[in-house]
C-alpha cells in the first residue's frame, strides 16, 4: 500500500516520468456517467449531491440546458457533497437541467512535437482552427515539484543585446527573471526584443523554442507578440496559450500551468532551450483572488489569499535546468505593478520567488529613454555565477558593481542639486551629475533593434566610468583601471 504504484494508471495516461506521481490514484470507472444532482450553484461554484467516491482535483464536464459544455474541477469531495469550481462561471445555470460528468483525471495536456507553431486557448484547446493534438502522452498540467537534488545550477550567460540587462542584470539560461512594469510602459516591446535577440555567446542557435502565454492580455497585446514572432521568422518555433481579457477569468488559473507543461516537454523531452514569456502575472493573481473569495479563504494582504506565495512559486519554480538533460526553461514573466507600487503583494511575492527582476520606470520612460530600465531596484541573482573571466569578460563583475555604486551616488547628488542648485555643487559632484545623464542616455538608452554585444556594452561602460576620477572607482581593481580607464590607460 505504501508505494501504491501501478494498476491505477489512467488507460490513456502517459506512463512518462513527467507525470508518474500525480498520475497515481486515478481510475476511470466514473468517467461515462452523467449526474443530474446539482444541489446549489453560486458564484462559480456548484455543489453536487449524492456522488460518492469522487477524486479530489478531478476534472469535471458540465452540460447545461442549452447543450453548452463548461469545464470545472473538484475542489472538495465528500460522499454527500462534492464542490465543483466551474471555469466559465455559473451564470444562467439551471440546476434541474445541468448534467455533470466527473472525468476522474486531472487537467491534462496532450503533447507531441506538433505543438510547435500552434495556438491554444487558456485551457490548452486549439484556437487556431486546426485539429487538436492527438497523443498518448497527456500530462497533468500541475506538474510535480523538481527535486532540488536533481537541478543543475544555471550558469550560462545569455546575451540579450540590451546593456542594462547584459551589463548589470544579466540573464542566465534556466533563470526566471520577471519584468516589473506598469500601465503604458513598453514591457511588451522589451520582452519581444529579448526574445528576438537572446543568444548564447559562442554558440550557434541550436534547438530553441518559445512558449508564449497571455492571460488577461488585450487582443492588441497578443497581436503585437504574434506579429513580432512572425517578423523574426520564428513562428514555427513558438507555442502560444492565449486567454485574453474578455475570456473566462477562472481559466487563467490553468493557462500558465498548461504553458509550462508544454515548456517542460519541449525542454526536457525534446532537449530544446525554451524561453517562456508570460503576461500578465497580475491578471493571474487577480483571478486567483477572485476564486479565493468565492471559496471563502482567509485573506492575507490586500484581499489576496495567504497561499498566493506558494501558488506563484508552483509556477515560477518550473523554470530551470536538470542534471544530465540538455534542455532548459528560461522564464520571463511580465507583471504590471498596481499603481507602480513594488511593495504591492504581486510584485513583492514575485520578487521573493524569482531570481531577480528587471524594473521598468515611468521617469525614464517620460524622458524618452528606451528601454526604461530602472537599474537600482533591478537585480539578477544568478548574474554572479554566469559572468566574468570564463563567461563574459574578466572585468564584468567589477564594472557592474562600479556602475551601480557610481550611479547610486550620482543620483544622490542629483537629489542634492535639486535642493541647493547645481551651481553650489563641488567639482566632483558636477562630474557625477554628468555621468548620471550620460549613463541614462547612452548606456540604458538604446534602440529597439540595437543588439549590443557584451563587449560593446562593457566598453561603453568604461567610456562612461572614465568621466569619473579613477580614485573614486574603488569597486574595480587597479589593474582594470590601468587597462580600461581613459585617464590612466
Amino acid at each position: 500500500m505504501r508505494q501504491g504504484q501501478g494498476g491505477d494508471e489512467d488507460a490513456g495516461g502517459s506512463g512518462e516520468s513527467g507525470s508518474m506521481g500525480r498520475g497515481k490514484g486515478w481510475r476511470h470507472a466514473m468517467k461515462h456517467v452523467e449526474f443530474r444532482t446539482a444541489a446549489s450553484a453560486q458564484g462559480g461554484l456548484v455543489v453536487m449531491a449524492g456522488v460518492p467516491g469522487v477524486a479530489a482535483g478531478s476534472r469535471v464536464q458540465l452540460r447545461d440546458h442549452a447543450g453548452r459544455l463548461r469545464s470545472g474541477q473538484v475542489i472538495r469531495s465528500a460522499d454527500d457533497a462534492v464542490l465543483v469550481e466551474v471555469f466559465e462561471g455559473t451564470d444562467a445555470l439551471d440546476l434541474e437541467r445541468t448534467w455533470v460528468r466527473f472525468l476522474d483525471e486531472p487537467f491534462r495536456l496532450p503533447l507531441s512535437r506538433d505543438i510547435l507553431g500552434r495556438v491554444f486557448n487558456g485551457a490548452g484547446l486549439p484556437r487556431d482552427k486546426r485539429p487538436p493534438i492527438v497523443s498518448a502522452d497527456r500530462r497533468d498540467i500541475n506538474g510535480e515539484p523538481l527535486n532540488p537534488a536533481a537541478r543543475a545550477y544555471p550558469r550560462e550567460f545569455i546575451q540579450t543585446g540590451i546593456s542594462a540587462i547584459d551589463g548589470m542584470n544579466s540573464l542566465t539560461r534556466g533563470q526566471k527573471l520577471p519584468i516589473f512594469s506598469g500601465g503604458g510602459l513598453p514591457h511588451n516591446r522589451v520582452a519581444a526584443q529579448i526574445v528576438r535577440q537572446a543568444r548564447l555567446l559562442g554558440e550557434a542557435s541550436t534547438e530553441f523554442a518559445v512558449v508564449f502565454a497571455a492571460f488577461g492580455a488585450s487582443h492588441a497585446d497578443a497581436r503585437f507578440f504574434q506579429e513580432s514572432f512572425e517578423e523574426s521568422g520564428v513562428l514555427d518555433k513558438v507555442v502560444m496559450f492565449l486567454n485574453l481579457a474578455d475570456e473566462p477569468v477562472i481559466e487563467r488559473l490553468l493557462t500558465p500551468r498548461a504553458a509550462l507543461t508544454a515548456a517542460e516537454y519541449l525542454a526536457f523531452d525534446l532537449d530544446h532551450h525554451v524561453l517562456v514569456v508570460m503576461t500578465d502575472m497580475t491578471a493571474y493573481a487577480e483571478a486567483l483572488r477572485e476564486v479565493a473569495v468565492l471559496r471563502g479563504d482567509v485573506p492575507a494582504r490586500k484581499g489576496y489569499p495567504g497561499y498566493l506565495y506558494s501558488d506563484l512559486a508552483e509556477i515560477y519554480e518550473r523554470a530551470g535546468r536538470i542534471r544530465n538533460r540538455r534542455g532548459s526553461i528560461t522564464m520571463i514573466p511580465v507583471l504590471s505593478m498596481p499603481s507602480d507600487d513594488i511593495t504591492h503583494p504581486i510584485p513583492d511575492l514575485t520578487g521573493y520567488i524569482t531570481e531577480g527582476q528587471i524594473v521598468l520606470g515611468r521617469e525614464l520612460a517620460n524622458q524618452g529613454v528606451y528601454p526604461p530600465v530602472t537599474v537600482l531596484p533591478s537585480l539578477s541573482r544568478l548574474m554572479k555565477d554566469g559572468i566574468g573571466k570564463n563567461f563574459t569578460r574578466e572585468d564584468h563583475p567589477h564594472v557592474a558593481s562600479q556602475l551601480f555604486a557610481s550611479y547610486a551616488r550620482a543620483l544622490e547628488v542629483r537629489g542634492l542639486a535639486a535642493i541647493i542648485g547645481a551651481e553650489e555643487l563641488s567639482d566632483s559632484d558636477r562630474r557625477a551629475l554628468d555621468f548620471a545623464d550620460a549613463f541614462e542616455r547612452r548606456f540604458i538608452g538604446q534602440g529597439e533593434d540595437e543588439d549590443r554585444s557584451i563587449h560593446e556594452t562593457l566598453n561603453l561602460a568604461w567610456d562612461l566610468l572614465s568621466m569619473l576620477p579613477p580614485e573614486s572607482l574603488i569597486r574595480v581593481t587597479e589593474e582594470e583601471l590601468a587597462k580600461y580607464h581613459k585617464d590612466t590607460a
Binding site: G21, G25, P106, D297, F404, L425, I474
Partner: protein
C-alpha cells in the same frame, strides 16, 4: 483501519477513532502521510504532507501511533532531506527528477556499515544522553552514539568494536520495570519536543562568521539567536550562505524553508568543493540540508524547521557547537497561518493566529548553549531570515521575532540597491551580546576592541547627522572638521563594512584582520582630524592618495597575509607627514 470522509485541499477528514493530535496518519491507496491536527468524536482532521489530488472519500486511512519524528544516527552529515526528513538523493533514485507522491524511503541509509567503537561498559547503569560509543562519520566529525534521552537502566550488553548498520542491535538495556530495550546506532525523536539537557549554560564565545559587520559590530554568541530581516534581494540568503560557509561552528544545519530550489542546488554544488577553513576538510562533511522549497507542499514546510532544529539539538547533545540557519522563517509562519486558517481559527493580525508570537518564541528557545545529559557542553545557534512583505519591519513576523532574539541584522534596501553588501544597516541593527563578546575580543585579539568598535559606530552615527544637513543646505555649510568626519565615515563604509562575498580574498576576514582594518581606518581618521584641527582644509586631506588606497586593503590582503597589511598600517603617519609639516609649522609661526 479508518477511512477518508472528505478531502478539502491538503486537509482530509477521517473516520479514525482513537488518534491523538499530532499523530502521523497514512491515507489512501497512494499511502500519503500526514498528521492529525484536530479531533471531533470519532473523526480526525489531518493535513497531508503531499498533494491530495486523486484521493477519494472511502479510501482507507490508518493512524501510525507516533508523532512526526526524525531518525538520528550516522549518515546525517552531508545529506539533503525534505521537510519530513526524506533523503532527497534517495528519493531521486526512486522517483526521478521530480518528487512523486507516496515515495517512502527511510531517512538514514540502512545498508551502510559504520565502524562502531564502544565506550560504555556492560553492567553499568545508563541514563538518557549517555555516550555508548562512537562512529567516525567523517574525517573531522566523530559521531557519538547516545542513549535515547528518556531511557534509563542497566546496560546488559554492548556490541564489541566492529561494523554495524544503523538498525542492527548494538546493545540491550534493562529498564526499571524489567523490560528489555534494544539499542541501535540510531534512535527516533519527535520533532516538536525539544531534546532534554541538564541545564542551560552561559554563552561565552562569539560565533566568528568572518563577516566584519557581523563579528565586529553586531556580534552573536555561540548558542545565541539572531534574525536577518530584509526585503527581497537585500541579501538574506547570501549572508546565511556566507555564515554556513565560514563560521567556526562544528556542524551547520541549513534549512531552506519555502525558498528557491536553485539556492539549495547552489549549496549542494559549492559546499562539497569548498574546504572548511577551520579543519581543511570539505565543507559538506559538516553540513546537512533540509529543503522544503517554495514549490514543495506547504504542510511539510511547517514541519521543516522543527526537523532542522531537532537535528541541530542532536549534534549539540554530542557536545558540538551547531549553527542552524533557517531561510526563511516567514515562510514557516505563513504555513502556520494556512493551517490555522483551515482550522477556522480567529486571525488577529494580517491573517496570523494569536499564537504566532508564542510559537516563534518557543522555536527560538530551542537555541542555546547547554550542559548536555552526558555532562558535555554543546550549543545551537539559531539564525533566522525574515521576509517581511513589502520590506515593512512592523509586520507581525518581524516584530515578534525582534522581541525574541538578541542579535538583529537588519538589511536595507537602499544599501542593496547601491550594491553595498552585506546590506546590513549599521544604524538599525543591534546586538545584546557586545559586552560578552568584548571579553573574548579583548583576550583573543586586542584589548582595544570595545573602544575601537564604539568609536567607529560614533563616527557612523555622526556622519548620518551631518548627511542630513548636507541634504538640506549642501556640503559647503559644514566645517572642515565635519567634512572630514563625513569622509572618515565613508572610508569606514567602503573600506570595512562593505565586504564582497564574491571576492576570493575579501569573502572571509579573521578576527585579527577585522581588528587590524578597523584600527587602521580609525588611525587614518585621527591623523586627518589632527590636521584639520591644525587648520588644514578638509579638501586637501581628502585628496591624499592614501584614502583611495586604504579602501582597497580589505581585498588586497587575506587573513593569512596580515604582515603586509600591518606594514601599510605602520606607514599611515608617513602619508600625513608632508601636510603635517606645512600646517604644524604654519600654526607654530602664526
Amino acid at each position: 483501519m479508518g477511512r477518508i470522509l472528505e478531502i478539502n485541499g491538503p486537509l482530509v477528514k477521517l473516520e479514525l477513532p482513537q488518534t491523538l493530535i499530532g499523530e502521523q496518519v497514512r491515507v489512501g491507496r497512494m499511502g500519503l502521510v500526514g498528521e492529525v491536527i484536530g479531533r471531533d468524536g470519532g473523526t480526525a482532521l489531518a493535513q497531508l504532507y503531499e498533494d491530495t489530488a486523486g484521493l477519494r472519500p472511502g479510501e482507507a486511512a490508518e493512524g501510525l501511533g507516533w508523532p512526526l519524528s526524525v531518525e538520528l544516527g550516522p549518515g546525517l552529515l552531508g545529506a539533503i532531506f525534505d521537510g519530513v526528513q526524506r533523503p532527497l538523493h534517495a528519493v531521486r533514485t526512486l522517483s526521478g527528477d521530480r518528487i512523486a507522491r507516496g515515495v517512502a524511503v527511510p531517512s538514514l541509509v540502512r545498508e551502510t556499515r559504520w565502524h562502531f567503537v564502544p565506550a560504555a561498559q556492560a553492567g553499568r547503569t545508563l541514563a538518557g544522553g549517555d555516550v555508548l560509543g562512537s562512529v567516525q562519520e567523517t574525517a573531522s566529525i566523530t559521531h557519538r552514539i547516545l542513549v535515547p534521552p528518556l531511557l534509563h537502566g542497566e546496560l546488559l550488553e554492548l556490541a564489541p568494536e566492529g561494523d554495524y548498520t544503523v538498525d542492527e542491535t548494538i546493545g540491550r538495556v534493562k529498564l526499571a520495570d524489567g523490560r528489555i530495550e534494544k539499542l541501535a546506532l540510531f534512535h527516533r525523536w519527535p520533532v516538536r519536543t525539544p531534546r532534554p539537557f541538564r541545564q542551560r549554560d552561559h554563552a561565552v564565545a562569539p560565533l566568528i562568521t568572518g563577516q566584519r559587520i557581523l563579528d565586529t559590530f553586531y556580534p552573536l554568541l555561540k548558542g545565541g539567536k539572531a534574525a536577518i530581516p530584509g526585503p527581497f534581494g537585500a541579501g538574506k540568503t547570501m549572508l546565511q550562505q556566507q555564515i554556513a560557509r565560514w563560521c567556526n561552528a562544528e556542524i551547520v544545519v541549513y534549512v531552506g524553508c519555502g525558498e528557491r530550489g536553485n539556492e539549495l542546488t547552489d549549496v549542494l554544488e559549492f559546499m562539497p568543493e569548498l574546504t572548511d577553513p577551520h579543519t581543511g576538510r570539505p565543507l559538506m562533511e559538516r553540513t546537512l540540508l533540509v529543503a522544503n522549497t517554495s514549490n514543495m507542499p506547504v504542510v511539510a514546510r511547517e514541519a521543516s524547521v522543527y526537523v532542522g532544529i531537532t537535528l541541530a539539538e542532536y549534534f549539540r547533545d554530542q557536545g558540538y557547537d551547531v549553527v542552524m540557519v533557517a531561510d526563511s522563517t516567514s515562510r514557516w509562519a505563513e504555513a502556520l497561518r494556512e493551517v490555522s486558517g483551515r482550522l477556522g481559527q480567529m486571525p488577529v493580525e494580517e491573517g496570523y493566529p494569536a499564537y504566532l508570537g508564542s510559537r516563534l518564541a518557543a522555536f527560538y528557545e530551542r537555541a542555546g548553549r547547554v550542559e548536555t545529559l552526558a555532562g558535555d557542553h554543546g550549543s545551537v545557534t539559531l539564525i533566522g531570515a525574515v521576509s517581511p512583505p513589502g520590506g515593512d519591519f512592523s509586520e507581525p513576523v518581524t516584530s515578534h521575532t525582534k522581541e525574541i532574539i538578541q542579535t538583529f541584522w537588519a538589511l536595507s534596501k537602499e544599501l542593496a540597491d547601491a550594491r553595498h553588501y552585506p546590506a546590513v544597516d549599521w544604524l538599525e541593527s543591534f546586538s545584546g551580546d557586545v559586552k560578552s563578546a568584548a571579553k573574548w575580543w579583548a583576550q583573543a585579539v586586542d584589548p582595544e576592541w570595545e573602544h575601537a568598535r564604539a568609536a567607529a559606530l560614533d563616527l557612523l552615527a555622526a556622519s548620518e547627522e551631518l548627511q542630513r544637513i548636507v541634504n538640506l543646505v549642501g556640503v559647503e555649510a559644514l566645517s572642515s572638521e565635519q567634512r572630514w568626519t563625513l569622509e572618515s565615515a565613508s572610508l569606514l563604509k567602503e573600506g570595512l563594512l562593505q565586504q564582497a562575498a564574491t571576492d576570493e580574498i575579501d569573502s572571509f576576514a579573521s578576527p585579527q584582520k577585522q581588528f587590524a582594518l578597523l584600527a587602521a581606518l580609525l588611525e587614518i581618521h585621527r591623523q586627518g582630524l589632527k590636521l584639520v584641527q591644525l587648520g588644514a582644509p578638509a579638501r586637501r586631506v581628502i585628496q591624499l592618495p592614501l584614502l583611495a588606497q586604504a579602501r582597497r586593503w580589505k581585498s588586497q590582503h587575506g587573513s593569512d597575509d596580515l604582515e603586509a597589511l600591518k606594514a601599510k598600517i605602520a606607514a599611515i603617519p608617513e602619508a600625513f607627514e608632508p601636510l603635517l609639516e606645512d600646517y604644524a609649522a604654519g600654526a607654530g609661526r602664526g
